[in-house]
Amino acid sequence: MSFSEQFPIVLGSLNTGFLQTLRLFFITLLGAIPLGMVLAVGEMSSFKPLRAVIRTLVWIIRGSPLMIQLLIIFYFPGLVFQTPLWGGGESGRFAAAAVAFVINYACYFCEIFRGGIQGIPVGQDEAGMVLGMKPAQIFFRIKLLQVVKAILPPISNEIITLIKDTSLARIIALQEIIWAGQSFMKGSQGISGAIWPLFFTGVYYLVATGILTIVFAKLEKKLSFFR
């Protein structure tokens, strides 16, 4: 098969794979951002045991490779409890990957949120307090936007990393874009021994990270009206 014959076939496969990549990306954001907030609030609570539990979790998750976490979450239920929690198909693999990614990214977001909130000078709280504001008003009307501005750069870093990290789900055979690219090496749809589709997946990542970079730069600019 000539290259021009291969190209549309490969593109179709890569598009399907990238859709799965994007699905994992958005599900992770949707789960990890709220969970990260909850963890951050817990980590700042005055209840010491809760803080200790969250800090340990964050240390374990951030201190070990995401790939290992993926493998453990995918295989552990089946190996230990003889009940393959996730089922065998693509949907099971996706669920396992989503859980692993949500937990992993929630821990990173948690630390960013906590740092952002604690980084706001206490003078802001105190100024609100002496003006008779309620704690919720102080948080939402005074601190929140300052926190958002402060955490936007590290958050955008994490999100750009996430789109690339989704490729790790290849290790449990999730049919994301790397898997799709690789399939043409072993043979798929009449194409075999072709390595260029795998390399070509890089273009998808570049486009995605390029768009994210532009979006975050815009957001940062929007928040540059104050310091």
Partner: protein, 261 residues
């Protein structure tokens, strides 16, 4: 009747006694100046008055109403703390303006939030807003900032920021306005404009407690001076007396250190 009565306030941080049996009172429309070396407890005293710290012992009364009696349980301190705080205003050394709000928004935000608690807020929202903004404009104009209302704090000089902070504190009409070294964070050439507006407030008989290292200003503007040392009131009286003819050895030492520099 005294507008403010403070009785036997004690406060320690850990084992360090920072305020040691502070008692004083002041009359409505007067200016009390608090001087003393760094670490003598001046900021802590203002923070106690503004319910940012809970004293270990003591009583705070405003217009005869007991706002704080430290012998009551801690729960009492928290109850209605927001409303108790409104009797006092506090201008911080470091301004603590809200960076994402313009000068005018800084001044009006708290008043708008408080207006939400009014029973007829829903029906009269826009009238309230208009009145509050008008009030905010007046206050800023009074501070000489009529041209700066739409500016964000980072676009203002330190002296302008501090004047916005003063307008912000005045917006809620506190019974007693407290200043914690309002010019200490400013370049020397900017202190004048801030001291000038405070002087203006004194002329209109705003009740104020001013912690300051500006001795000439304190002497000029205050009706009463307290010299604090090691958490205690070491000397108190008419500024002419305290500055001109201090009784205590510690006061003399402190003031002489100032006249040298």
């Amino acid at each position: 009747m005294a507008i403010l009565e403070v009785e036997n306030i004690r406060k320690s941080f850990g084992s360090v006694l920072v305020l040691d049996d502070i008692s004083f009172s002041m009359e409505k429309g007067t200016v009390l100046s608090i001087i003393g070396s760094s670490g003598s407890g001046k900021t802590t005293l203002l923070r106690c008055l503004n319910f940012l710290e809970r004293p270990d012992t003591g009583i705070i009364r405003v217009n005869g109403e007991t706002l704080l009696d430290a012998s009551f349980p801690a729960r009492d301190f928290q109850r209605n703390i927001r409303l108790k705080r409104l009797h006092f205003g506090l201008v911080f050394q470091s301004f603590n303006l809200f960076p994402q709000y313009t000068a005018l928004e800084n001044v009006t935000l708290a008043e708008k939030l408080l207006a939400q608690e009014k029973p007829d807020w829903k029906e009269k929202k826009s009238e309230y807003h208009r009145a509050i903004e008008e009030h905010g404009r007046e206050l800023l104009a009074e501070m000489g900032l009529q041209d700066r209302m739409g500016n964000y704090p980072h676009q203002l000089s330190g002296g302008q920021c501090q004047r916005v902070a003063i307008a912000r504190a005045l917006a809620l009409n506190p019974d007693i306005l407290c200043f914690d070294e309002p010019t200490s964070a400013l370049d020397p050439e900017l202190t004048g404009e801030v001291l000038r507006v405070i002087r203006g407030l004194a002329e209109r008989h705003t009740t104020m407690i001013i912690v300051t290292h500006e001795m000439a200003f304190a002497r000029d503007v205050a009706d009463e001076v307290i010299f604090m040392d090691g958490g205690k009131i070491c000397e108190q009286g008419d500024p002419k007396e305290v500055f001109g003819n201090p009784k205590q050895e510690r006061t003399k030492q402190f003031l002489s250190r100032f006249s040298e520099t």
